[in-house]
Amino acid sequence: MLFPSAAFAFFLPIVFALYWLIGGKRVQAQNVMLSLAGLVFYGWWDYRFVALLLATTAFNYYMGLQLGSLPEGRNKKALFIGNVVVNLGALCFFKYFNFFSENFALLIRGIGWRVDAFTLELLLPIGISFYTFHSLSYVIDVYHERTPVCKDASAFFAFISFFPLLVAGPIVRAKTFLPQFEQQRTFRDAEARDGLRQMLWGFFKKMVIADSCAPFVNQFFDHYQTQSTANLVAGAVLFTFQIYGDFSGYSDIAIGTSRLFGFSIPPNFHYPFFSRDIAEYWRRWHISLASWFRDYLFTPLSISFRYWDRWGIALAMLINFLLVGLWHGASWTFVVWGGLHAAYFMPLILLKRNMSNYGVPAEGRWLPSFRQGLSMLVTFALITFALIFFRAPDLHAAIGYVQTLFRGHWGGVDVERRIWLFIAFMLLAEWLQRDKVHPLQLDGISARLMRWSIYLVLALVTFYFGAPPQTFIYFQF
């Protein structure tokens, strides 16, 4: 079920009404309701995957209980490793089996043996990377005793199958999110209203920005050989805004929806285009994934490599980004994308400059300084270049795109002007509200009429200028 769809427009009010009719005091009943809603939401795409989701949830719930009951020692560690292997094994089987099989066969052929890759016709369960990481986060935290064992099955099932986050995150931590399913939820008027505003902004980004960019991006990337340089530059820039509008829009809708049900989730994107370097960019872009990898991979690796000083951190960074890339999909394009980000990051680590840009950019001023503005532009150019590899269907096409970009004739840009206007509007709104969680937090405007007029115009723009809904890009991950 897509968020911008008729089905969701009916589904959400029904679930909302039933959830609050049950009442905040009957937590378990609410959890069961949420779990069922999650299964319906998930099964809407393909009911066959519901079984996998249920099996994963049941397995991790049981493992959590077992880990909690065992004393420190070999048995507990073996159980923990076994659990991680099973979770990652399921993910790898569905997502990476063919990739590794094909590349292994390629490697073997490279040394002169004739082998054919053994591939399976597998249908990738939607959102598997997200709910696997939710489960892993729980198991790791339980093992390290950072979070207590969840004994309430209804809470655990609701945590994994919570429909707003089920298929594309944000990847929340068991430590902070699971306890919310065990406590009484109260309806907070201000939170719910702000949740709706956040959803509205998310729909605008998804339907007006991302879905309007999509046809042009598809055209330029699918036929890059015949495009002018200007179109290829526009294609790369538009894809940057498309993926931002798509994924941050989804995150805003998901977080806003969660707030309607009394849950609190930290932001997943925080105005990434105002980043002054790549380190700051990763503190603002897909924050939940970046922090997951930071806490569960980068930090342990950095500790392991600590004897190599800065070079150890750089190596941990490289491994971290390559795996972040691979997490996105079984393709070398994602590995190269991750590698490029590692390369961008490396100088900051080696020069100890990765913490130099923090906080609100140009705080208290209308405009950034020239240096800040230039840093933002350079950072934007770097991420845009890397995203060419992210978007291209394969490495050959990505290299072809870059080559044509530099060798072709400049030509004109064949993109509707209104798309640029909407992107400019989005950037302006985000810049003016860069110290807020989302741009529709209009606390500074006291007149209700004015605030409602803004919401109304934005809703009408989304309604009339929104392109036909397309599947969220991150569903494939």
Binding site: L456, A459, Y464
Partner: protein, 317 residues
């Protein structure tokens, strides 16, 4: 909670109210528009047509048959061109049925066909022209099969969802349809003033999908069903294969076989007029591309058609 629900409902009602007003104004203005391609819908809806000879078909029909020539050749009879640019027989049939709801039955139908007449229509060409009529029974039924957003078909105020160009054109009283050319329209016919574009022809020659005649079995069945319906209603139908340039036919896969099969398929229901092999159509000055006649070609072709009908009309009587 109560306050939240009240605010939410108030805002929703406000939004729905504004949407309803915009939809109402857009509908009224588009329905009243009597220019360009909207004109055919407008005239059909207002019952102004009541043609004796009705020309049906796609864009080929639209540019190939000049009703004025037929009017002269068949005195006392009014011809009207309902060629539906960009849409195949499934949508043509929906528009014909819409026409019949508001107009009397024609005395004769010229059903123009081509190599792509029986594929399924794509929902992406000038759809604004029939959005005001989306809730007409036959139009909606046809649109259901074309992948139209179901919300648009289900909820009236959602019919212009994503149609900013159309809505702004209607509200600002601009030309109703983007890219609609301000050409003279006479009895539905829009003369194509363009000349043969060799560059475009060569570019298209590299696109095999443009030279591969195809048909959807369901659409073709509905075509045969329509012929039988007309026979029951005693409305004579002539199936007319519109001329294509011979350079196009030379590149098209199985073009001759396609026409032959079609002729055999309709033999029980309607006469089949096919002038494709005549040497005139080697001349590119009669076309603006491989599949469409320009106004010069249309006049020649309609004159041929009129000559055929002059004798046929006696039989009809």
């Amino acid at each position: 909670m109560k306050r939240f629900l009240l605010h939410f409902m108030a805002f929703s009602l406000l939004l729905l109210g504004v949407l309803a007003i915009i939809t109402w104004i857009t509908d009224k203005r588009l329905q009243a528009w009597d220019k360009g391609r909207m004109r055919v819908w407008h005239e059909a809806a207002s019952g102004q047509v009541n043609a004796d000879v009705l020309i049906l078909g796609g864009s080929n029909a639209h540019v190939a048959v000049n009703p004025q020539i037929l009017d002269t050749a068949l005195p006392g009879w009014k011809a009207y061109n309902m060629g539906f640019e960009g849409y195949a027989f499934d949508m043509q049939l929906a528009r014909y049925r819409f026409y019949r709801q508001h107009n009397k039955a024609p005395k004769l139908i010229l059903l123009c066909v081509n190599y792509f007449e029986f594929e399924r229509s794509l929902w992406n060409i000038d759809r604004g022209q029939f959005l005001p009529y989306i809730y007409e029974r036959n139009v909606r039924a046809a649109l259901r099969g074309l992948g139209v957003n179901p919300i648009k078909l289900a909820i009236p105020i959602f019919k212009y969802l994503g149609e900013a160009n159309l809505v702004s054109a209607a509200l600002l009283r601009q030309a109703p349809l983007p890219k609609d050319e301000p050409r003279l329209t006479v009895n539905g016919y829009v003369p194509a003033l363009q000349h043969w574009d060799e560059t475009e022809f060569r570019r298209n020659a590299c696109r095999p999908e443009l030279f591969s005649p195809r048909a959807d079995s369901a659409v073709f069945r509905s075509f045969l069903h329509f012929l039988s319906e007309c026979k029951e209603e005693r409305i004579p139908v002539y199936v007319v294969f519109t001329p294509h340039n011979h350079r196009y036919i030379a590149l098209a896969q199985g073009a001759t076989e396609y026409r032959q099969l079609l002729k055999e398929a309709v033999a029980d229901w309607a006469p089949f007029i096919d002038v494709s092999e005549l040497p005139y159509w080697q001349d590119t000055t009669f076309f603006y591309n491989g599949t469409h006649l320009n106004c010069r070609g249309a006049d020649l072709f309609t004159s041929m058609l009129a000559d055929s009908l002059k004798s046929a009309r006696v039989r009809v009587k």
